[in-house]
Structures are given as C-alpha cells and as structure tokens.
C-alpha cells in the first residue's frame, strides 16, 4: 500500500490498482467490501471507453449517506464522465455503478437523486418559478408540494425577488443558483453536482456551503466535482483525485489538517506530480 503522511493517515493511491476493485474505501475512510448495501453510490472497477480512449479506467469508490465527497482532477481527467455514469446517463464499458443498491438509470433510483450540471442555459423564456414547476412535473411531484418546495428553495438560494423574471435576464451566478434549486426540488437523498461553485459570488458560496452542510446533517449524500480546492477542503469529508481516467488518490480531508494553509492544494499538486 502506497500512502502519504504518518501512520494516522489512511490515505492510499490508486485504490483500483491496489485492490483490484474488491476492497473499497468507504465513508470516513474505512474499508468496505463490495456488496455492502448501505452505500449511496458504489463504483466498482469501472471502465468507460469512448472509441479507443479510456475516459475512466478502473475506478472504484463508495459514498455513504451523510457524507460529502469532493471529486477533483485536471480537465479531461474523467470527472464528468464518472458523474454521468452515477446519474445513469452513461453506462460503464466494464465494472459496475450502483446508486442506493440499484441501477442508476432506473427511474425509481433517479427519483432519489438530484443533479446539477456544470453549465446549463435553462429555458430562457421561463422564470425561476416556472422552471421549478416544470422540473417538479417531470419528477412526478404533486403541484401543491412543488409550490411549497419552490418557495422554500427560491428563498434558500436567494432567488425569491427574481423569481418572476425570465431566466434570460439572469446572470451566470443566478442561473447556477436556479440549477441548485432544481437539483434539490425532489428532496434527493443523493446530490450530484458538477462544478457547483462556478459563477457564485463569495456570499452565495458561503450560503451554498451552509446548505450542503445542512443536507449532510439530514443524512443526504453529496458528490461534487470541483476545481475549487479551497471550497472542497472546507466542505468535504473525503476527496478523490482523478488523473487521465485513473483515481490516483482517495482520502479523508480531516487527515490533511494540521499543517496550516491549503493542505489540499499541496496534496493535489503532489499527487498529480507523483502520478506522472
């Protein structure tokens, strides 16, 4: 086992290669065996190929309810491909992805998942309230429930005052907040976010961070990709770092504490350097 730091740290490199995908690092860094049914997300030895290119190669990880996991990596490392497999938009070429023990493409499983893409230009002719009503209908939610949830969510993402303005008048950050609201509309048990901090101003980031922490307190699992190492360090229980389709690091963020400064940034650079 290849690790960094002192004996307290249970951090390993390239877990897929280390254990052939048979043993996983579970929530809070403990080992888990495949088949444990309590994971929100379980990825076992997943490979995803596009023509001859392996976008994801031998990835294994698990995410438990009540856990926030940051998914880091350089551009083209395979983060978005992994996220698409978790939400059932792509099927792995090999290996297995399960969400709450089921197939991610199963609508019953997806009813428990919320997803926000990195960039989406939501319907410009709708306002935020209509957007959430539309997504509520797509989720099959009752109209009264959608209205209640819409009021709550618009308040929590700070769009109440702009709720009746067409989305085409929204700034990038406001669209991002509308995206967060639509992802939370069905009160998901698993929230999957692709670059959620992009475009958010500092105040919105603080609010969003608090929102994600409150979801964790409620036992929701959060999985997000990001290039924002500072935010990731502040928010996550664990991180996984991808490079060229391989997971080159998985570990608990709390194990990084103690050196002062941005430990995650140093770890990120060191990991990528050593994984060359």
């Amino acid at each position: 086992m290849q690790g960094i730091g002192n004996g307290k740290r249970q951090i390993c490199y390239n877990i897929g290669a280390m254990n052939d995908g048979n043993t996983l690092l579970g929530p809070k860094g403990q080992r888990q065996s495949p088949g444990t049914g309590d994971s929100a997300v379980r990825i076992e030895g997943v490979v995803r190929e596009f023509a001859s290119v392996k976008a994801v190669d031998g990835l294994s990880l698990a995410l438990a309810p009540g856990e926030i996991m940051g998914f880091l990596g350089t551009n083209g490392a395979g983060k978005t491909t992994t996220i698409k497999m978790i939400i059932g938009l792509l099927r792995p070429s090999a290996g297995k992805v399960s969400v709450f023990g089921g197939d991610p493409s199963d609508p019953a499983v997806r009813a428990r998942v919320g997803y926000m893409p990195e960039v989406a230009t939501y319907y410009p002719y709708l306002n935020a309230r209509e957007l959430l009503a539309f997504y509520g209908g797509i989720c099959g939610l009752d109209a009264k429930l959608v209205k209640t949830r819409t009021d709550e969510l618009l308040e929590s993402v700070g769009l109440s005052e702009a709720a009746k303005r067409p989305l085409k008048t929204y700034s990038k950050g406001m669209l991002q907040r509308a995206g967060i609201a639509q992802a939370l509309l069905n009160d998901p048990d698993l929230l999957v976010l692709d670059e959620p901090f992009t475009g958010l101003d500092p105040l919105a980031r603080i609010h969003f961070r608090e929102l994600l922490r409150s979801l964790r307190e409620k036992g929701k699992a959060v999985f997000f990709s990001s290039h924002e190492l500072g935010e990731t360090e502040l928010l996550c229980d664990r991180v996984a770092i991808m490079k060229h389709g391989h997971c080159v690091y998985q570990g608990a963020v709390k194990d990084l504490a103690g050196d002062g400064g941005s430990n995650l940034e140093r770890l990120f650079l060191k990991t990528l350097e050593e994984a060359k």
Binding site: K84, R110, V113, P117, Y125, L126, A133, Y135, G140, V192
Partner: protein
C-alpha cells in the same frame, strides 16, 4: 399513471410557453392576420370565381404557416436541449427517454394544433363575415389537416435528432412541400424515365410522407363534397402508422445518441 400524466402535462406546458413567448410566433401571427383578413374578406372582382380563388389562396397560406410552425416546433423539441445542456438535468430526473420524447412530441403537437386552430378560426370567421356558410367538407378537411400537422411534427422531430437545425428544416420542408404539390404526379413522372431512375422515383413515392393525401382545399373551396369515410379513415390510419414509425425511429436515435 399519475406520474406519467404529470410529466406529460409539464412537457406540454413547456412547449406552449415556448411557442407563445417566442417573438417569431407573434410575427407569424401578425403576418397571418395581415395576409388572411384582406384575402378572405375582399372580393375585388365581384365574381364568385375570384372569391373562390382568394379563399384558395388564404387556405394555402394556412397550410404554409401551419407547416412552418409544425416544422419549427419539431425542430425545437430536443435539439436545443442538447445545445443548452438542459438535457442532462432533464434525463437525470425520473423520466425515461421514451416518455420524454413522447411528452415533447405531445407538447409540440398541442402548440402547433393551437396555432392551426387559430388560423382556421380566422379563415372560417372571414368566410362567415362575408355571408358564406360552413361547408359540409370542413370537419373532414380540418381533421386531415390536423393529422398532417401531427405528421410534420414527427418528421421534424426525427430530423432534429439526425442532422443540424438548418439541414433538418430545409430537408423536411422540401420533402413535405414537394410531396404536397407533386406527390400525386410522381408515378406518371416515373413512367417516362429510364428503369433505374423510375425505380428511384417509385421508391421515393413509396417511402416519402404523402402530404397530398391530407389536402382537401379544392373540395372545400369548390364544394365538391366530402371524401368517402373509408378513404378518410384509411388516410388517418396512414398518418397514425407513419407517425408511430417516425417516433419509433426518433426514440432509437435518442437512445443511441451520445450524452
């Protein structure tokens, strides 16, 4: 069942909002008003023949505008979802691709049909204002026109998944307008060609959507009477089968499309 109904309702409402909030539809409605009202009401030559000619021209405009809206609606069903990347959060929701496609189709159909109904209200209203009466053929003509619009939306929807927006609009328009005007003449045209070309023209005749089957303008304007009910039913069945095949192919294309 309840979930499916809510999903379809949301998709239909989205299509309606898109149609009526886009500036181009208002421009089209204004154009329709500007052209149809004088065409249908004026009788500059004071003769029945000229009046019928104007009615026929007005109906042709109704066909043109409604086809334009149908092709636009079909094109805008899924292609912009991919461009704006809203397809990802949409497909991440608990809805299957097949249901999404069918719901989108229903939405475009409802929007296009509402526009067509608006044009016919204008046309029939102008006829009544002039002292004319409902033609007995009108219900059949309306039903076939609505069926044609359903077919046109399906053609455009399939095209939008296979080619670019401009290519789809151009090809769909050429095929449907071409068949509308020249479809019934293709077999006799093929007879005058060499065997290879004749086979090609006959293949086009067999495969292409027969827009001309749905055209009852002449009967409506000249009072030639309704078509027989078996023929009417056969044309509706043709439309249903053709639409089902197109939606099946579109569903296949959506499933195979890389996300």
């Amino acid at each position: 069942m309840k979930t499916a109904f809510r999903q379809f309702k949301a998709l239909v409402k989205l299509s309606f909002l898109e149609l009526w909030r886009r500036n181009d539809i208002f421009a089209l409605v204004l154009l329709g008003l500007a052209l149809m009202v004088p065409l249908s009401m004026a009788s500059p030559f004071g003769a029945d023949g000229a009046s019928r000619y104007l009615d026929e021209a007005a109906l042709l405009l109704v066909w043109g505008f409604s086809l334009f809206i149908a092709l636009g609606s079909g094109q805008r069903l899924l292609a912009p979802e991919f461009e704006a990347r809203t397809i990802y959060p949409l497909l991440a929701k608990p809805i299957s691709r097949g249901r999404l496609l069918f719901g989108k189709y229903l939405g475009a159909l409802a929007a296009s049909w509402s526009a067509l109904a608006f044009f016919y209200v204008l046309f029939v209203g102008s006829v009544l204002l002039r002292g004319g009466a409902f033609a007995a053929e009108l219900p059949q003509a309306l039903a076939l026109h609505f069926a044609f619009i359903a077919l046109a939306v399906a053609v455009s929807l399939l095209g939008s998944l296979l080619m670019s927006a401009s290519a789809n609009c151009a090809l769909s328009s050429i095929v449907l307008v071409g068949m509308f005007f020249f479809g019934r003449r293709l077999p006799e045209y093929a007879d005058g060609l060499n065997p290879a070309l004749a086979w090609l023209v006959k293949a086009v005749y067999a495969i292409a959507p027969h827009a001309e089957f749905f055209d009852m303008r002449q009967r409506l304007v000249h009072g030639w009477g309704a078509v027989g009910w078996p023929v009417f039913a056969a044309v509706l069945c043709y439309a249903l089968v053709y639409i089902a095949v197109l939606l099946g192919l579109a569903s296949l294309a959506l499933r195979r499309r890389r996300l």
